[in-house]
Amino acid sequence: MALRDGEGPFFGEFGGRYMPESLIAALDELSEAWQAAKLDPEFAGELAALHRTYTGRPSIITEVPRFAAHAGGARIILKREDLNHTGSHKINNVLGQALLVKRLGKTRLIAETGAGQHGVATATAAALFGMSCTIYMGEVDTKRQALNVARMRLLGAEVVPVTNGSRTLKDAINEAFRDWVANVETTHYLLGTVSGPHPFPAMVRDFQKIIGEEARAQVLELTGALPTAVAACVGGGSNAIGIFHAFLDDPSVKLFGFEPGGFGLDSGKHGATLEMGRPGILHGNRTYVLQDEDGQTMESHSISAGLDYPGVGPEHAWLKDLGRATYRAITDDEAMQAFRLLSRTEGIIPAIESAHALAGAIQLGHELGPDAVILVNLSGRGDKDMETAGRYFGVLDEGGAEQ
């Protein structure tokens, strides 16, 4: 069986559907709608038209030689998901699910968000389709991504700061599930990553795999060959699986996922789930989880709100155990240095999430040598991160020069 054929509920021993009975009917309904939509050319046509006229697909690729000069001279090519409408890859999944929701006849979207990119994309789709929208966001994240909170509210969404647990992405997911249980008749939970119970990991991947499908053809056209390696950042893992998927059955192409290393793996303050976690169940699927001896979920840490998650999509857990993809950690500082380097050498300000993939590409370039071609998923743009970056580098005019 080709690696690309994984349809869930299980990817090897990972995945599944460990959920309260109250939500099983909604998950079954969603699975059926998705299976039907996959076979329906009208659905594919509608989504493709939206991507062409609204998202701005296909997204371009950009070769970045001045940046690559700092990466051992390997060729580095960026897949520009940052240029999508709303500023990240999240819109790919959101528009797909929103079209399904229209078919299901539901009128309200809820979603979790970490960095706010998925929340903004969901609020955008709700505005576009005339649906009401509630976004759950950890209180910690509403502060570090205040600009995206304002964007969501301008788009007409209600943003609910989540004040329980660690007040970050995992708690926002818990709160979204609680809302869904109570309102499932009218409401769709538009999960933003390749995690959660079946069918989300496979379905969200199917909506994101367009990234790799486009990029594979674009790199072939540019270089005449497949890339040596593909790099992406991994929080829940949707942009990574999106760009990996088209290459899963190209054994010559090495796949690298870069997890948030926070203050370093030894510090205990990181979000490197695949390196430091162990298999368990979180948010409805069996996967690697950062957890203590008792199975209590541990708090993750990352400078990047979008990667600050103690679980990871089950397909990544499977690819790790198979050895098909390699996962490494990038510290906050390594990511921030890459963030600044791309800005200064290429005039492209990446999201801090994506800067983890860029820092990884610098490492890979040195390891793989000047003949290598490295495709990097630039999953989002950095506008939302100006306050964090401004503080980090002391480039704000007032109150930001401490560091």
């Binding site: 009917a25 109570a182 957890q291 008792d294 979920t297």
Partner: protein, 268 residues
């Protein structure tokens, strides 16, 4: 199939007083010792079956009251092994059967077989598992069968008849009838959906059936026992314990038990 201490207790309560009262409290809240005292007080006040919660970091089926209590227990240092200490301590003092309510990951990490053995050895009757369904619980079905433990699965208003049959066939002790679409917490009206769901569960052979979520007053217990075999009260008891300590939770339990006893044994 092995005998079920929980089903026996519910049937006995039904014969004696019209139905069973099942009371929930989290283990380790406000601390381990007082959670044991509170559980004993529930039984002494007339609760027929205890449901003791295992505090977990990500309780997606729980509302604010239980979330706050279980989070406080975790902050205070709750460990999974405390479950067995608490169950043993309560069972040494009162006879009511004890079900442990737990999300699945802590059991998985402890080891499903080992958890089953240690719970059985402590005198526990079985588990209520809110975030796994029988079709995702092969290892628990096997372990509970081997250890002779009860296993309570949930049935929801949105469940198809096929899924109700699944819950009925695999539950032992009772089927947890989710009264309303939502998470735990007191509600002014226990949903009419509960009565419909109870009827549907009877039709697929579920026995006994107990209704939970949103029940907080003696009147609601009374109403639920007109069509169900047991009524489950959680958040209201936890709130009483949080606000007024063991004596407050004991008085509420006594009032709820009067609600259960006032039920005519022949349902109308």
């Amino acid at each position: 199939m092995s005998a079920s201490p929980v089903a026996d207790a519910i049937h006995a309560a039904k014969a004696a007083q019209g139905g069973a009262l099942i009371g929930y409290l989290p283990i380790g809240f406000p601390d381990l010792e007082q959670s044991v005292e509170a559980a004993v007080a529930l039984v002494e006040a007339g609760v027929d079956v205890l449901e003791l919660g295992l505090p977990y970091s990500d309780p997606v089926m729980d509302g604010p009251v239980i979330q706050a209590a279980t989070q406080a227990a975790l902050v205070a240092g709750f460990r999974v092994k405390d479950v067995f200490t608490a169950v043993r301590a309560v069972r040494e003092r009162v006879r009511a059967p004890i079900l442990v309510m737990t999300y699945w990951n802590p059991v998985l990490q402890y080891g499903v077989e080992r958890f089953a053995d240690d719970l059985k050895a402590a005198g526990g009757a079985g588990l209520i598992t809110p975030d796994i369904t029988p079709d995702s619980a092969a290892d628990w079905l096997a372990a509970s069968e081997r250890a002779g433990l009860d296993r309570v699965f949930l049935a929801a208003p949105t469940s198809t008849d096929e899924r109700l049959r699944l819950a009925a066939a695999h539950s032992r002790g009772f089927v947890y009838t989710v009264s309303t679409m939502g998470i735990t917490g007191a509600r002014t009206d226990v949903d009419a959906a509960a009565r419909t769901l109870a009827t549907r569960l009877r039709a697929v052979g579920a026995d006994p059936i107990c209704v939970g979520i949103g029940i907080s007053t003696p009147e609601q217990v009374h109403d639920v026992l007109r069509y169900a075999d047991g009524a489950i009260v959680g958040s209201a008891l936890v709130k009483a314990l949080a606000d007024g300590g063991v004596s407050a939770v004991a008085s509420l339990a006594a009032a709820l038990a009067r609600g259960a006893r006032d039920t005519p044994s022949l349902a109308d």
